[in-house]
Amino acid sequence: MAGTALRRRLSWQVAKVSAVTTETPSVRTIMLEVPDWPGHQAGQHLDIRLTDEDGYVAERSYSIASAPGEPVAITVERLDDGEVSPYLTDELRAGDDLELRGPIGGYFTWGPQDGGPLLLLAGGSGVVPLRSILRHRERTGSTVPARLLYSSRTLDDVIYRAELDQPAPGVEIIETLTRHQPPAWTGYARRVDAALLGEVEWPAAEMPLAYVCGPTSFVEAVSQALVQSGYPPQRVKTERFGATGGT
């Protein structure tokens, strides 16, 4: 599992917010102008640092939502008991400065050379790095077959809804709504488990490459089910965000 050595120093820099767009009632995409961005891989993240007038500092990591070569963007879900995410979703606006450094991480990444077929599994805002992968696939002209299985609570919680309604050729989007479904909903209406995965996953014999991102419970359940259906653990990459609420 040797990685690409990344030995460049990651310096803090001040980016400019160029736009903030509403994805869902609790999710915003923040477009950034970063003066010294070395480029990123699809699936990487960056660190944000906020400083208040007393010098108090809060740092958090966010997945990069845009593809390599596109302006840097992050998509942030508000956690009501959080400290950084409510600021990013509710207070930050175009023209503001935002201190960041990155890109960070090099394992949960995909490029055309990694091949596929791709099985992308998203729980909630875990879709963010997978969206970067899908955009990168399309921008590079890759023909690797890709499936995204995306689990949300309700239709209103679906991030990138318009974009996902128009998938690129060779991409299948499969959605499940676990809490509430609108009338005439044709997607799945239950939590992702082994049975549901069995209906959508590529056969293990095709040597698929799986990326699983979401809350810990989602990632644990999905990655275990994939391994049990014959996916080699080395072909199942995971990224988890625990709810780190509380104080």
């Binding site: 690409t4 991480g105 995971t238 625990g242």
Partner: protein, 201 residues
């Protein structure tokens, strides 16, 4: 000096008397978040073993043998590079001092190998002198697989990615070769008090 973020106000309570226990850039959590790069391995205890030493000349214990080694109960603060810190976590495990004494080997560097292929590098002097354990219980219960069970390395004075989950061996080496995350740009040493998150910090 960081610029002030317009409209940002602290929302977390001042940690008060615990302020000195929280490294720069970290925040306190009472949860125990789970982070790992791949699926959680589930190794049966009758197939589990633990080895210490130089490659090819390692001392190996079965699970049953390992559990007869003298253990310690320790309560320590832990700090994850993803910014959370958790205070007063309680563990039970075997001191790495004990393991190295029994294996009859010493440093200068160790590479921890784990089920699932994960590795991480730690200088042996950071594993000795009562600073590190191979822990198999958390809060009085067997360590859950999601948190690294059956056993994980516990090196609380370094960022928690050094406390490798599902650890199976400590390979002693002459060179400080980077492990898994260290190869992906994370700091070769990882001292939270110097905020050594990434290479060059």
């Amino acid at each position: 000096m960081s610029p002030v973020s317009r409209g940002f106000h602290r929302r977390r309570q001042d940690p008060g008397e615990n302020a000195g226990r929280i490294p720069p850039g970290q925040y306190l959590t009472k949860d125990f978040p789970v982070l790992s790069a791949g699926p959680t391995p589930h190794t049966a205890l009758d197939r589990w073993s633990f080895s210490v030493g130089r490659a090819g000349q390692q001392k190996t214990w079965t699970w049953d043998e390992f559990r007869t080694l003298p253990s310690q109960d320790v309560t320590v603060d832990i700090h994850c590079v993803t910014k959370w810190s958790k205070l007063d976590t309680s563990w039970q495990g075997v001191s790495v001092d004990t393991l190295l004494d029994l294996a009859g080997h010493a440093g200068p560097f160790a590479l921890a190998h784990c089920d699932g292929g994960y590795t991480t590098n730690v200088p042996v002097e950071d594993l000795t002198g009562g600073k590190a354990w191979v822990a198999y219980a958390y809060d009085g219960q067997p360590l859950e697989p999601e948190h690294g069970g059956p056993a994980r390395l516990l090196v609380p004075h370094l960022y928690f990615w050094k406390s490798a989950k599902w650890v199976r061996s400590l390979e002693l080496r002459d060179t400080n070769d980077p492990g898994f995350w260290e190869n992906y740009g994370y700091h070769i040493y990882g001292d939270p008090w110097r905020e050594q998150r990434y290479a060059g910090d």
